[in-house]
Symmetry: C2
Subunit: 140 residues, 2 copies
């Protein structure tokens, strides 16, 4: 572990919820809990998903809605399993060092790092960690 | 909607992650992201689960680990699907009014309200909302 990959530098960024239809998803979360659209939707052809961010008053964590952008989207499998919330995202100061640290701890790199439209082309990577937790890393 | 069930009063409390083994789960999240045990584990025979809460420095949201307490635990189905993170919990000032509001918005009450060991016997309820999101409500 180097100073750049100290665990304190994994900063919680958002959790992700899969929805079939973006506009309906936005309306649902407004109606159920009062979430408001903060940014997006953004179409990300690299990830083959559409993404937006919702927030609420106060210190509530940021919620990301993710919908399929086209056929064979990676979010299709999540929607088939019927689980709404499916990933956590942590922001890191050095994404390559953070990936290495996760791999050293037994996590499996699924994809990336690649630039992401929703984050102004900052890089993201996807890992499957122990406890079947899907984690996104985001370059700070 | 009454003043007591205004959406602003759904206060984010924690997200829940299913694990097969509690002690291994605690070690995994310490190792991967530096989470520390904040309270528990608590055995809840009403829910047939063991629960603990993990936290990190700063404003990171509270993480709840949930493991089966005995056979036929409600968390078994989550673990079979292989999804780590599986619910969000919101604290509400009047759990019965909040349940009614969620039902009016199309959510389905799965169980409760019942007292919960992990929350000093405060009442909890489980709802399935639109977008396949499993939500726990917690009496403030």
């Amino acid at each position: 572990m180097t100073a750049e990959t100290d665990m304190d530098e994994f900063k919680f960024h958002h959790f992700g919820v899969a929805v079939r239809d973006m506009q309906r998803g936005i309306a649902t979360f407004a109606n159920l809990f009062g979430y408001e659209l903060r940014s997006g939707p953004f179409d990300d052809p690299i990830q083959n998903v559409s993404i937006c961010f919702l927030s609420r008053e106060g210190a509530d964590p940021l919620l990301e809605l993710v919908a399929p952008l086209g056929p064979n989207s990676p979010v299709d499998g999540i929607l088939k399993k019927g689980s709404g919330i499916y990933h956590l995202c942590y922001e890191v100061p050095d994404i390559r060092a953070a990936i290495q640290r996760q791999q050293d701890a037994g996590s499996f790199l699924l994809s990336g790092p690649v630039p992401a439209v929703a984050f102004g082309m900052r890089e993201i990577a996807w890992l499957m960690t122990e406890a079947d937790l899907l984690v996104e890393l985001l370059q700070a």
